[in-house]
Symmetry: C2
Subunit: 245 residues, 2 copies
Protein backbone atom coordinates (compact mmCIF):
# COMPACT_ATOMS: atom_id res chain seq x y z
CA UNK A 1 0.00 0.00 0.00
CA UNK A 2 0.98 3.64 0.18
CA UNK A 3 -0.06 6.90 1.71
CA UNK A 4 0.05 10.10 -0.32
CA UNK A 5 -1.75 13.31 0.51
CA UNK A 6 -2.07 16.75 -1.01
CA UNK A 7 -3.62 19.89 0.48
CA UNK A 8 -4.74 23.09 -1.23
CA UNK A 9 -4.34 25.96 1.20
CA UNK A 10 -4.74 29.70 1.05
CA UNK A 11 -1.03 30.23 0.36
CA UNK A 12 -0.28 27.24 -1.81
CA UNK A 13 -0.09 23.46 -1.93
CA UNK A 14 1.48 20.83 0.31
CA UNK A 15 2.29 17.29 -0.82
CA UNK A 16 3.56 14.36 1.22
CA UNK A 17 4.25 10.76 0.18
CA UNK A 18 5.69 7.73 1.88
CA UNK A 19 8.11 5.49 -0.02
CA UNK A 20 7.26 1.96 1.08
CA UNK A 21 6.22 -0.61 -1.48
CA UNK A 22 5.29 -4.18 -0.81
CA UNK A 23 4.24 -7.29 -2.66
CA UNK A 24 3.24 -9.40 0.29
CA UNK A 25 5.12 -8.98 3.55
CA UNK A 26 8.34 -10.57 2.32
CA UNK A 27 8.98 -8.25 -0.58
CA UNK A 28 9.40 -4.75 0.82
CA UNK A 29 10.92 -1.95 -1.20
CA UNK A 30 11.54 1.78 -1.11
CA UNK A 31 10.49 3.82 -4.12
CA UNK A 32 9.85 7.48 -4.66
CA UNK A 33 6.13 8.16 -5.08
CA UNK A 34 6.36 11.93 -5.34
CA UNK A 35 7.74 13.40 -8.55
CA UNK A 36 8.23 17.05 -9.40
CA UNK A 37 8.08 17.76 -13.13
CA UNK A 38 8.90 21.17 -14.52
CA UNK A 39 8.61 20.98 -18.31
CA UNK A 40 9.03 24.75 -18.80
CA UNK A 41 9.18 28.01 -16.85
CA UNK A 42 5.41 28.55 -17.00
CA UNK A 43 4.37 25.36 -15.23
CA UNK A 44 5.21 22.90 -12.52
CA UNK A 45 3.58 19.60 -11.68
CA UNK A 46 3.72 17.30 -8.68
CA UNK A 47 2.74 13.71 -9.31
CA UNK A 48 1.95 11.26 -6.52
CA UNK A 49 1.09 7.64 -7.15
CA UNK A 50 -0.52 4.69 -5.40
CA UNK A 51 -1.20 1.21 -6.68
CA UNK A 52 0.77 -1.06 -8.97
CA UNK A 53 4.42 -0.06 -9.00
CA UNK A 54 4.91 -1.46 -12.50
CA UNK A 55 1.99 0.60 -13.83
CA UNK A 56 3.12 3.83 -12.18
CA UNK A 57 6.68 3.31 -13.41
CA UNK A 58 5.56 2.86 -16.98
CA UNK A 59 3.21 5.85 -16.80
CA UNK A 60 6.07 8.01 -15.51
CA UNK A 61 8.37 6.69 -18.24
CA UNK A 62 5.80 7.55 -20.92
CA UNK A 63 5.35 11.04 -19.47
CA UNK A 64 9.11 11.51 -19.67
CA UNK A 65 9.30 10.08 -23.21
CA UNK A 66 6.57 12.46 -24.38
CA UNK A 67 8.45 15.39 -22.84
CA UNK A 68 11.86 14.52 -24.27
CA UNK A 69 11.08 13.10 -27.70
CA UNK A 70 10.69 15.52 -30.58
CA UNK A 71 7.54 15.73 -32.64
CA UNK A 72 4.09 17.25 -32.47
CA UNK A 73 2.47 15.15 -29.74
CA UNK A 74 0.66 15.76 -26.48
CA UNK A 75 2.69 16.03 -23.27
CA UNK A 76 2.70 17.81 -19.93
CA UNK A 77 4.35 20.68 -21.84
CA UNK A 78 1.46 21.10 -24.24
CA UNK A 79 -1.50 21.11 -21.82
CA UNK A 80 -3.06 24.57 -21.55
CA UNK A 81 -4.92 23.79 -18.34
CA UNK A 82 -4.38 21.55 -15.33
CA UNK A 83 -7.49 19.54 -16.19
CA UNK A 84 -6.01 18.79 -19.63
CA UNK A 85 -2.83 17.57 -17.94
CA UNK A 86 -5.00 15.37 -15.70
CA UNK A 87 -6.84 13.93 -18.70
CA UNK A 88 -3.53 13.30 -20.49
CA UNK A 89 -2.18 11.51 -17.40
CA UNK A 90 -5.48 9.63 -17.18
CA UNK A 91 -5.16 8.39 -20.76
CA UNK A 92 -1.61 7.14 -20.17
CA UNK A 93 -2.74 5.48 -16.94
CA UNK A 94 -5.70 3.84 -18.63
CA UNK A 95 -3.57 2.56 -21.52
CA UNK A 96 -0.83 1.12 -19.33
CA UNK A 97 -3.35 -0.33 -16.86
CA UNK A 98 -5.26 -2.02 -19.68
CA UNK A 99 -2.07 -3.67 -20.95
CA UNK A 100 -1.04 -4.85 -17.49
CA UNK A 101 -4.52 -5.93 -16.37
CA UNK A 102 -4.65 -8.43 -19.22
CA UNK A 103 -1.91 -10.43 -17.54
CA UNK A 104 -1.77 -9.23 -13.93
CA UNK A 105 -5.45 -8.74 -13.11
CA UNK A 106 -7.10 -5.97 -11.14
CA UNK A 107 -3.96 -5.39 -9.04
CA UNK A 108 -2.46 -3.57 -12.01
CA UNK A 109 -4.43 -0.37 -11.42
CA UNK A 110 -2.84 2.85 -10.22
CA UNK A 111 -4.23 6.13 -8.93
CA UNK A 112 -2.50 9.51 -9.12
CA UNK A 113 -2.66 12.89 -7.52
CA UNK A 114 -1.66 15.63 -9.96
CA UNK A 115 -0.99 19.03 -8.46
CA UNK A 116 0.75 22.21 -9.40
CA UNK A 117 0.16 25.31 -11.45
CA UNK A 118 0.13 26.41 -15.06
CA UNK A 119 0.82 30.13 -15.29
CA UNK A 120 -2.41 32.10 -15.45
CA UNK A 121 -4.43 29.47 -13.60
CA UNK A 122 -4.91 28.98 -9.89
CA UNK A 123 -2.81 26.20 -8.33
CA UNK A 124 -4.82 23.05 -7.77
CA UNK A 125 -4.76 19.37 -6.92
CA UNK A 126 -6.59 16.68 -8.91
CA UNK A 127 -7.16 12.97 -8.40
CA UNK A 128 -6.71 10.82 -11.52
CA UNK A 129 -8.43 7.43 -11.52
CA UNK A 130 -7.38 4.17 -13.19
CA UNK A 131 -10.36 4.70 -15.53
CA UNK A 132 -8.68 7.84 -16.86
CA UNK A 133 -11.09 10.43 -15.48
CA UNK A 134 -10.36 12.86 -12.65
CA UNK A 135 -11.86 15.00 -9.91
CA UNK A 136 -10.63 18.25 -8.39
CA UNK A 137 -10.31 18.65 -4.63
CA UNK A 138 -13.54 20.11 -3.27
CA UNK A 139 -13.75 23.75 -2.24
CA UNK A 140 -15.13 22.80 1.17
CA UNK A 141 -12.54 20.20 2.16
CA UNK A 142 -9.65 20.87 -0.21
CA UNK A 143 -7.39 17.89 0.27
CA UNK A 144 -6.85 14.61 -1.54
CA UNK A 145 -5.49 11.29 -0.35
CA UNK A 146 -4.59 8.03 -2.08
CA UNK A 147 -3.60 4.67 -0.60
CA UNK A 148 -4.17 4.12 3.12
CA UNK A 149 -6.36 7.16 3.55
CA UNK A 150 -8.38 6.47 6.68
CA UNK A 151 -5.92 6.68 9.55
CA UNK A 152 -4.77 10.22 8.85
CA UNK A 153 -7.90 11.86 7.49
CA UNK A 154 -9.10 13.67 10.58
CA UNK A 155 -5.96 15.74 10.95
CA UNK A 156 -6.10 16.91 7.35
CA UNK A 157 -9.67 18.09 7.77
CA UNK A 158 -8.60 20.07 10.77
CA UNK A 159 -5.75 21.65 8.82
CA UNK A 160 -7.73 22.80 5.81
CA UNK A 161 -10.65 24.01 7.92
CA UNK A 162 -8.52 26.17 10.15
CA UNK A 163 -6.73 27.85 7.23
CA UNK A 164 -3.22 27.21 8.48
CA UNK A 165 -0.10 28.46 6.70
CA UNK A 166 2.08 26.28 4.51
CA UNK A 167 4.59 25.32 7.18
CA UNK A 168 1.91 24.39 9.70
CA UNK A 169 0.17 22.42 6.98
CA UNK A 170 3.41 20.54 6.31
CA UNK A 171 3.68 19.68 10.00
CA UNK A 172 0.07 18.48 10.03
CA UNK A 173 0.77 16.43 6.93
CA UNK A 174 3.69 14.80 8.74
CA UNK A 175 1.45 14.15 11.76
CA UNK A 176 -1.09 12.50 9.47
CA UNK A 177 1.69 10.44 7.87
CA UNK A 178 3.23 9.36 11.18
CA UNK A 179 -0.17 8.24 12.54
CA UNK A 180 -0.72 6.20 9.40
CA UNK A 181 2.74 4.64 9.36
CA UNK A 182 2.37 3.83 13.04
CA UNK A 183 -0.88 1.95 12.41
CA UNK A 184 -0.10 0.32 9.07
CA UNK A 185 3.05 -1.56 8.15
CA UNK A 186 2.54 -0.95 4.44
CA UNK A 187 3.27 2.76 4.90
CA UNK A 188 6.78 3.82 5.90
CA UNK A 189 9.70 6.24 5.68
CA UNK A 190 11.55 8.01 4.21
CA UNK A 191 8.95 10.65 3.42
CA UNK A 192 8.97 13.05 0.47
CA UNK A 193 7.56 16.49 1.14
CA UNK A 194 6.75 19.09 -1.49
CA UNK A 195 5.71 22.65 -0.69
CA UNK A 196 4.38 24.97 -3.38
CA UNK A 197 3.79 28.66 -2.79
CA UNK A 198 1.16 30.20 -5.09
CA UNK A 199 2.76 31.71 -8.18
CA UNK A 200 6.26 30.36 -7.48
CA UNK A 201 6.14 27.92 -10.41
CA UNK A 202 8.72 25.89 -8.53
CA UNK A 203 8.34 23.33 -5.77
CA UNK A 204 10.41 23.19 -2.61
CA UNK A 205 11.09 19.51 -2.26
CA UNK A 206 12.69 17.59 0.58
CA UNK A 207 13.17 14.05 1.79
CA UNK A 208 12.92 13.21 5.49
CA UNK A 209 14.74 10.03 6.46
CA UNK A 210 13.38 7.63 9.09
CA UNK A 211 16.22 8.46 11.49
CA UNK A 212 16.05 12.24 11.14
CA UNK A 213 15.81 13.56 14.70
CA UNK A 214 12.99 15.85 13.63
CA UNK A 215 10.59 12.94 13.13
CA UNK A 216 11.25 11.67 16.66
CA UNK A 217 10.89 15.19 18.06
CA UNK A 218 7.67 15.76 16.12
CA UNK A 219 6.23 12.48 17.38
CA UNK A 220 7.23 13.22 20.97
CA UNK A 221 5.67 16.69 21.02
CA UNK A 222 2.59 15.41 19.23
CA UNK A 223 2.03 12.51 21.64
CA UNK A 224 2.70 14.73 24.68
CA UNK A 225 0.14 17.22 23.39
CA UNK A 226 -2.42 14.49 22.74
CA UNK A 227 -1.99 13.06 26.23
CA UNK A 228 -2.28 16.52 27.72
CA UNK A 229 -5.33 17.13 25.55
CA UNK A 230 -6.91 13.90 26.79
CA UNK A 231 -6.41 14.97 30.39
CA UNK A 232 -8.13 18.27 29.69
CA UNK A 233 -11.25 16.68 28.22
CA UNK A 234 -14.31 17.62 30.27
CA UNK A 235 -15.55 14.97 32.72
CA UNK A 236 -18.43 12.80 31.60
CA UNK A 237 -21.43 14.55 33.17
CA UNK A 238 -23.39 12.93 35.95
CA UNK A 239 -26.60 12.76 33.98
CA UNK A 240 -24.89 10.52 31.45
CA UNK A 241 -23.05 8.48 34.03
CA UNK A 242 -26.12 8.10 36.22
CA UNK A 243 -28.44 7.04 33.45
CA UNK A 244 -28.15 3.32 33.91
CA UNK A 245 -25.82 2.89 36.82
CA UNK B 1 -20.83 -0.37 8.60
CA UNK B 2 -20.28 0.07 12.33
CA UNK B 3 -17.66 1.05 14.82
CA UNK B 4 -17.30 -0.85 18.08
CA UNK B 5 -14.29 -0.79 20.35
CA UNK B 6 -13.29 -2.38 23.63
CA UNK B 7 -10.29 -1.63 25.83
CA UNK B 8 -8.78 -3.68 28.64
CA UNK B 9 -7.22 -1.33 31.16
CA UNK B 10 -5.57 -1.68 34.55
CA UNK B 11 -8.82 -0.94 36.37
CA UNK B 12 -11.33 -2.63 34.11
CA UNK B 13 -12.90 -2.62 30.66
CA UNK B 14 -14.41 0.10 28.47
CA UNK B 15 -16.80 -0.60 25.60
CA UNK B 16 -18.24 1.82 23.06
CA UNK B 17 -20.51 1.16 20.08
CA UNK B 18 -22.26 3.33 17.56
CA UNK B 19 -25.82 2.51 16.52
CA UNK B 20 -25.99 3.26 12.81
CA UNK B 21 -26.91 0.55 10.36
CA UNK B 22 -27.17 0.90 6.63
CA UNK B 23 -28.05 -1.15 3.61
CA UNK B 24 -26.91 1.23 0.92
CA UNK B 25 -27.25 4.96 1.58
CA UNK B 26 -31.05 5.07 1.36
CA UNK B 27 -31.76 2.55 4.09
CA UNK B 28 -30.37 3.95 7.31
CA UNK B 29 -31.37 2.60 10.68
CA UNK B 30 -30.51 2.84 14.36
CA UNK B 31 -29.93 -0.37 16.27
CA UNK B 32 -28.24 -1.16 19.54
CA UNK B 33 -24.94 -2.95 18.93
CA UNK B 34 -23.84 -3.19 22.55
CA UNK B 35 -25.64 -5.66 24.79
CA UNK B 36 -25.03 -6.34 28.45
CA UNK B 37 -25.97 -9.86 29.50
CA UNK B 38 -25.94 -10.92 33.15
CA UNK B 39 -27.09 -14.53 33.31
CA UNK B 40 -26.26 -14.89 37.02
CA UNK B 41 -24.52 -13.07 39.88
CA UNK B 42 -21.14 -14.61 39.11
CA UNK B 43 -20.75 -13.32 35.57
CA UNK B 44 -21.42 -10.45 33.25
CA UNK B 45 -20.91 -10.23 29.49
CA UNK B 46 -20.80 -7.34 27.06
CA UNK B 47 -21.49 -8.23 23.44
CA UNK B 48 -20.71 -5.90 20.56
CA UNK B 49 -21.50 -6.73 16.98
CA UNK B 50 -20.58 -5.68 13.46
CA UNK B 51 -21.70 -7.06 10.14
CA UNK B 52 -25.03 -8.41 8.97
CA UNK B 53 -27.83 -7.09 11.15
CA UNK B 54 -29.99 -10.14 10.43
CA UNK B 55 -27.20 -12.48 11.51
CA UNK B 56 -26.42 -10.59 14.72
CA UNK B 57 -30.13 -10.40 15.60
CA UNK B 58 -30.58 -14.12 15.23
CA UNK B 59 -27.40 -14.89 17.18
CA UNK B 60 -28.62 -12.66 20.02
CA UNK B 61 -32.05 -14.31 19.91
CA UNK B 62 -30.48 -17.77 20.17
CA UNK B 63 -28.31 -16.65 23.08
CA UNK B 64 -31.45 -15.43 24.82
CA UNK B 65 -33.38 -18.62 24.00
CA UNK B 66 -30.58 -20.76 25.42
CA UNK B 67 -30.60 -18.68 28.59
CA UNK B 68 -34.36 -18.73 29.13
CA UNK B 69 -35.40 -22.19 27.94
CA UNK B 70 -35.21 -25.05 30.38
CA UNK B 71 -33.14 -28.14 29.77
CA UNK B 72 -29.54 -29.25 30.00
CA UNK B 73 -27.95 -27.31 27.16
CA UNK B 74 -25.02 -24.96 26.72
CA UNK B 75 -25.53 -21.24 27.27
CA UNK B 76 -23.73 -18.16 28.53
CA UNK B 77 -24.78 -19.36 32.00
CA UNK B 78 -22.97 -22.67 31.68
CA UNK B 79 -19.57 -21.54 30.39
CA UNK B 80 -16.87 -21.93 33.04
CA UNK B 81 -14.42 -19.63 31.31
CA UNK B 82 -14.62 -16.59 29.05
CA UNK B 83 -12.99 -18.53 26.22
CA UNK B 84 -15.75 -21.15 26.42
CA UNK B 85 -18.34 -18.39 26.18
CA UNK B 86 -16.47 -17.08 23.12
CA UNK B 87 -16.46 -20.53 21.50
CA UNK B 88 -20.18 -20.92 22.24
CA UNK B 89 -20.89 -17.54 20.68
CA UNK B 90 -18.66 -18.54 17.78
CA UNK B 91 -20.65 -21.72 17.16
CA UNK B 92 -23.94 -19.83 17.14
CA UNK B 93 -22.44 -17.23 14.82
CA UNK B 94 -21.07 -19.87 12.48
CA UNK B 95 -24.40 -21.75 12.36
CA UNK B 96 -26.51 -18.66 11.70
CA UNK B 97 -24.01 -17.30 9.20
CA UNK B 98 -23.95 -20.60 7.31
CA UNK B 99 -27.75 -20.56 7.01
CA UNK B 100 -27.85 -16.95 5.85
CA UNK B 101 -24.87 -17.18 3.53
CA UNK B 102 -26.64 -19.84 1.49
CA UNK B 103 -29.18 -17.24 0.36
CA UNK B 104 -27.59 -13.85 1.08
CA UNK B 105 -23.94 -14.48 0.20
CA UNK B 106 -20.81 -13.29 1.97
CA UNK B 107 -22.57 -10.18 3.31
CA UNK B 108 -24.24 -12.40 5.90
CA UNK B 109 -21.17 -12.62 8.13
CA UNK B 110 -20.94 -10.98 11.54
CA UNK B 111 -18.09 -10.35 13.95
CA UNK B 112 -18.43 -9.93 17.71
CA UNK B 113 -16.49 -8.58 20.62
CA UNK B 114 -17.22 -10.51 23.80
CA UNK B 115 -16.03 -8.93 27.03
CA UNK B 116 -16.72 -9.19 30.70
CA UNK B 117 -15.81 -11.37 33.62
CA UNK B 118 -16.65 -14.75 35.07
CA UNK B 119 -15.99 -14.77 38.80
CA UNK B 120 -12.54 -16.14 39.56
CA UNK B 121 -11.10 -15.14 36.18
CA UNK B 122 -9.56 -11.87 35.13
CA UNK B 123 -11.82 -9.60 33.06
CA UNK B 124 -11.03 -9.78 29.37
CA UNK B 125 -12.11 -8.90 25.85
CA UNK B 126 -12.21 -11.38 22.97
CA UNK B 127 -12.90 -11.07 19.26
CA UNK B 128 -15.17 -13.76 17.78
CA UNK B 129 -14.91 -14.35 14.04
CA UNK B 130 -17.59 -15.46 11.56
CA UNK B 131 -15.66 -18.73 11.31
CA UNK B 132 -16.44 -19.39 14.97
CA UNK B 133 -12.93 -19.05 16.40
CA UNK B 134 -11.69 -16.21 18.58
CA UNK B 135 -8.64 -14.24 19.72
CA UNK B 136 -7.99 -12.42 22.99
CA UNK B 137 -6.79 -8.83 23.00
CA UNK B 138 -2.99 -8.80 23.08
CA UNK B 139 -1.12 -7.98 26.26
CA UNK B 140 0.92 -5.33 24.50
CA UNK B 141 -1.91 -3.40 22.86
CA UNK B 142 -4.99 -4.53 24.77
CA UNK B 143 -7.86 -3.18 22.71
CA UNK B 144 -10.15 -4.62 20.05
CA UNK B 145 -12.10 -2.95 17.29
CA UNK B 146 -14.67 -4.16 14.77
CA UNK B 147 -16.23 -2.37 11.81
CA UNK B 148 -14.62 0.88 10.65
CA UNK B 149 -11.46 0.42 12.67
CA UNK B 150 -8.88 2.58 10.95
CA UNK B 151 -9.93 6.16 11.67
CA UNK B 152 -9.88 5.88 15.43
CA UNK B 153 -7.05 3.42 16.03
CA UNK B 154 -4.27 5.83 16.93
CA UNK B 155 -6.10 7.30 19.91
CA UNK B 156 -6.81 3.89 21.38
CA UNK B 157 -3.15 2.91 21.19
CA UNK B 158 -2.29 6.07 23.04
CA UNK B 159 -4.87 5.29 25.72
CA UNK B 160 -3.81 1.75 26.48
CA UNK B 161 -0.11 2.60 26.34
CA UNK B 162 -0.39 5.42 28.82
CA UNK B 163 -2.35 3.34 31.35
CA UNK B 164 -5.17 5.82 31.82
CA UNK B 165 -8.02 5.29 34.26
CA UNK B 166 -11.48 4.12 33.26
CA UNK B 167 -13.04 7.54 32.91
CA UNK B 168 -10.17 8.89 30.82
CA UNK B 169 -10.35 5.76 28.70
CA UNK B 170 -14.06 6.37 28.16
CA UNK B 171 -13.30 9.92 27.01
CA UNK B 172 -10.63 8.63 24.64
CA UNK B 173 -13.07 6.03 23.34
CA UNK B 174 -15.55 8.83 22.63
CA UNK B 175 -12.79 10.81 20.88
CA UNK B 176 -12.01 7.77 18.73
CA UNK B 177 -15.70 7.35 17.97
CA UNK B 178 -16.28 11.01 17.10
CA UNK B 179 -13.28 11.04 14.72
CA UNK B 180 -14.65 7.95 13.02
CA UNK B 181 -18.21 9.20 12.77
CA UNK B 182 -16.92 12.52 11.44
CA UNK B 183 -15.01 10.76 8.65
CA UNK B 184 -17.43 7.97 7.79
CA UNK B 185 -21.17 8.30 7.22
CA UNK B 186 -21.80 4.67 8.07
CA UNK B 187 -20.92 5.32 11.71
CA UNK B 188 -23.21 7.53 13.78
CA UNK B 189 -24.92 8.37 17.08
CA UNK B 190 -26.40 7.68 19.54
CA UNK B 191 -23.47 5.93 21.20
CA UNK B 192 -23.65 3.16 23.80
CA UNK B 193 -20.95 3.21 26.43
CA UNK B 194 -20.22 0.43 28.90
CA UNK B 195 -17.76 0.71 31.76
CA UNK B 196 -16.72 -2.32 33.76
CA UNK B 197 -14.66 -2.06 36.93
CA UNK B 198 -12.64 -5.20 37.76
CA UNK B 199 -14.58 -7.49 40.08
CA UNK B 200 -17.84 -5.51 39.95
CA UNK B 201 -19.65 -8.23 37.97
CA UNK B 202 -21.95 -5.49 36.75
CA UNK B 203 -21.58 -3.02 33.89
CA UNK B 204 -22.28 0.68 34.09
CA UNK B 205 -24.09 1.32 30.86
CA UNK B 206 -25.16 4.58 29.29
CA UNK B 207 -26.44 5.95 26.00
CA UNK B 208 -25.23 9.28 24.69
CA UNK B 209 -27.60 10.92 22.24
CA UNK B 210 -26.38 12.90 19.23
CA UNK B 211 -27.66 16.17 20.69
CA UNK B 212 -26.30 15.69 24.20
CA UNK B 213 -24.35 18.89 24.94
CA UNK B 214 -21.47 16.79 26.25
CA UNK B 215 -20.63 15.50 22.77
CA UNK B 216 -20.42 19.05 21.40
CA UNK B 217 -18.34 20.14 24.38
CA UNK B 218 -16.04 17.14 24.04
CA UNK B 219 -15.55 17.85 20.34
CA UNK B 220 -14.88 21.54 20.95
CA UNK B 221 -12.24 20.93 23.63
CA UNK B 222 -10.69 18.16 21.59
CA UNK B 223 -10.43 20.25 18.43
CA UNK B 224 -9.12 23.27 20.36
CA UNK B 225 -6.46 21.07 21.93
CA UNK B 226 -5.49 19.60 18.59
CA UNK B 227 -5.17 23.01 16.98
CA UNK B 228 -3.12 24.23 19.92
CA UNK B 229 -1.02 21.08 19.67
CA UNK B 230 -0.42 21.72 15.99
CA UNK B 231 0.77 25.23 16.72
CA UNK B 232 3.24 23.90 19.26
CA UNK B 233 4.82 21.41 16.88
CA UNK B 234 8.51 22.16 16.41
CA UNK B 235 9.43 24.07 13.23
CA UNK B 236 10.72 22.02 10.33
CA UNK B 237 14.50 22.37 10.71
CA UNK B 238 16.56 24.30 8.18
CA UNK B 239 18.60 21.30 7.12
CA UNK B 240 15.43 19.60 5.93
CA UNK B 241 13.97 22.72 4.37
CA UNK B 242 17.24 23.66 2.67
CA UNK B 243 17.89 20.29 1.17
CA UNK B 244 16.41 20.91 -2.23
CA UNK B 245 15.26 24.51 -2.13
Amino acid sequence: MTYCLAMRLTDGLVFLSDTRTNAGVDNIGTYRKLQVIRPSDDRVFVLQSAGSLATTHEVLARIDRDLTSSGDHESLATASHLFEAALYLGRLNKQVTAEHIATVGSGATATFILGGQISGERPDILLVYPEGNYIRASDTIPFLQIGETKYGKYLLELAVRTHVGLESAAKIALGSMLSTAHANLSVGPPYDLGIYRNGALDVREMRIEADHPYLAELTRVWVDNLIEGIQELPPIPDDVLAELS
